[in-house]
């Protein structure tokens, strides 16, 4: 017996997990009211920054006005939601004017004897296309990423900043089931603003977290069907845009320029799954079309591997930043991504940068250590 189209809708409607009316009136609940007040306690949009007339980049400010450090805004609300830690846990409070956060130095590169970015990525694409398949076999895509970030919590005009390293391993089956294990290292607190902001920054550090996808109520995280992605760069560039229907990933962040979303989707592919050589070649040719892309040069990544780097600037994450993409010069494989803020944003209440850093400052680094296929979600390839 066949199921006709109309019957499909009826069957689906019967299985609505939250039937109409189930949430009626919840907007008036105490939880909803409390959330509303917490959100309203954060700034809706930034005030004009004092640096706006001092820095050339401020000339771009049509977009930038109305932009606040994303981390800061979101964390401000987080800070409002956390409790207060014991003074014994806060040895740094009250020690006078704090030093700037000692963020890791930016990577250095040698630009000599390299062509322009488009030519360079074209050469890398040629090398990528003839690489052997990724190591290992099995149904699971395995990716190991070493990450580092400057986590800052801002609340009540106070900022706490901490350097937080993390090592994550993710095993994902094609249907989105799988497992991840993240070891978040001990935070190196650079500056303490208040007990509340310190508590917010330290939440979850110094611990390992295992998440199983598709079990225990956790959503599955399906992989992109790479066989549907074209190796023709012109077609692939369109597929990498949102709403094409090919990618299941959503762009980050919403409202960013199309080219930025495309780059983010490329990075997301590498972050989650094993990218075959010919597709890597096409991705490199797509990346070569990124506006403002420049060659940074040859150098070493955070674990000492030889890389060649390209970079671009964007305000898509809330404040002017420089993004660096690091590639293996022999295979064209994406080795890592770094983000550095490039322009001062002064907190009017403190007279210092919101993130308490010396500009330019690295705020996030991801190094892809390994990528391959595995037979189980317990072992690497």
């Amino acid at each position: 017996m066949s199921v006709d189209d109309d019957r499909v809708l009826a069957l689906l409607a019967e299985r609505n997990p939250v039937p109409p009316g189930a949430v009626a009136g919840l907007a008036d609940s105490p939880d909803a009211e409390a959330l509303l007040e917490r959100i309203l306690a954060t700034a809706p949009r930034p005030q004009p920054f004092r640096w706006a007339r001092r820095f050339p980049l401020a000339g771009m400010a049509g977009r930038r006005r109305g932009v606040l450090v994303a981390t800061a805004v979101l964390v401000a609300a987080a800070v409002l939601a956390v409790g207060v830690v014991s003074p014994l846990d806060v040895p740094f409070l009250g020690r006078g004017r704090p030093a700037l956060a000692a963020t890791p130095p930016l990577l250095s590169f040698d630009r000599s004897e390299l062509p322009d970015a488009k030519t360079l990525l074209g050469r890398l694409a040629g090398r990528a296309a003839v690489q052997p398949p990724a190591p290992g076999s099995g149904a699971f895509d395995y990716v190991q990423v070493q990450a580092w970030s400057l986590d800052s919590a801002i609340g009540g005009g106070q900022t706490t900043s901490a350097l937080v390293p993390a090592l994550s391993e993710t095993w994902t089956a094609p249907d989105g089931s799988g497992r991840s294990r993240t070891v978040r290292g001990h935070a190196e607190v650079e500056r303490v603003g208040s007990k509340e902001t310190l508590k917010a920054v330290l939440t979850g550090t110094g611990a390992a977290e295992v998440t199983v996808f598709g079990e225990g109520g956790t959503s599955k995280l399906p992989l992109v069907d790479l066989s549907r992605l074209s190796t023709d760069p012109r077609v692939l560039a369109k597929q990498l845009l949102r709403n094409d229907g090919t990618l299941s990933y959503d762009p980050d962040p919403a409202g960013a320029p199309v080219w930025f979303q495309r780059v983010q989707n490329v990075i997301a592919l590498y972050r989650r799954q094993v990218v075959p050589p010919r597709l890597q070649a096409a991705l490199l040719r797509v990346l070569a079309t990124t506006p403002g892309l420049v060659v940074l040069g040859r150098g070493r990544d955070r674990v000492g591997r030889a890389v060649v780097a390209v970079g671009f600037e964007s305000t898509a994450h809330g404040r002017p930043a420089r993004y660096q993409l690091l590639f293996d010069p022999r295979s064209g494989v994406l080795r890592g991504v770094e983000e550095a803020v490039t322009t001062l944003m002064v907190n009017p209440q403190t007279g210092r940068d919101y993130l308490n850093v010396r500009i330019p400052a690295l705020v996030e680094s991801e190094t892809i250590l390994a990528s391959g296929h595995a037979h189980s979600d317990r072992t690497p390839p």
């Binding site: 066949s2 189209d5 019957r7 499909v8 809708l9 689906l12 019967e14 299985r15 609505n16 997990p17 939250v18 039937p19 109409p20 189930a22 949430v23 009626a24 919840l26 907007a27 959330l35 509303l36 917490r38 959100i39 309203l40 954060t42 949009r45 109305g66 981390t71 979101l74 987080a78 939601a81 956390v82 990450a147 986590d151 800052s152 937080v164 993390a166 994550s168 993240t182 978040r184 939440t203 979850g204 977290e209 109520g217 956790t218 959503s219 599955k220 995280l221 399906p222 709403n243 229907g245 299941s248 990933y249 959503d250 980050d252 962040p253 919403a254 409202g255 997301a268 996030e364 991801e366």
Partner: protein, 178 residues
Amino acid sequence: MSDDEQRFRVLYRQHYARVLAYALRRVGPDRAQDVVAEAFLVAWRHIGKAPADPLPWLYRLARNAAANEGRSLRRGVRLQERVRVGAVTMLAGALAASDHAERVGETDWVLAALRRLSPRDQEALRLTVWEDLDVATAAAAMGCSPAAMKVRVHRARRRLAGLLTRSQADGSEASHEC
């Protein structure tokens, strides 16, 4: 109270329940309130850009927030970049309904077939059937044209019908074997 705040309060109270239902249907009760919080926080940041009919826009923000949740799980970094609202303490009715649906969904043949569709097809059907949106509003929520949405819903419905038909046939054969 500023005009922005007044506008946001109205928007929040009018649409909180529907955004919550949207989140519950997609990420379950454990994560729904975080998704709602992040969606409305972003809405507050961009209240000046809120369209006259903000519901599709809010759904898009919630969808991005749900995706960010997944990304956070995968990457294990940027843990501070979302609103933490503590334990879910919403009214029991909504949670019970959602919990029940999750339990049923583990074995339900219709939901199992739905999960076999592409994420975009699933979303198209959920928006039009569960969220009860018309094609134009669902299109706005997914960021595509109404024409494209109409085609997607039609195809998704046919694909789901095909899967259900095959599922029934398989079940029938299995019962004969027994």
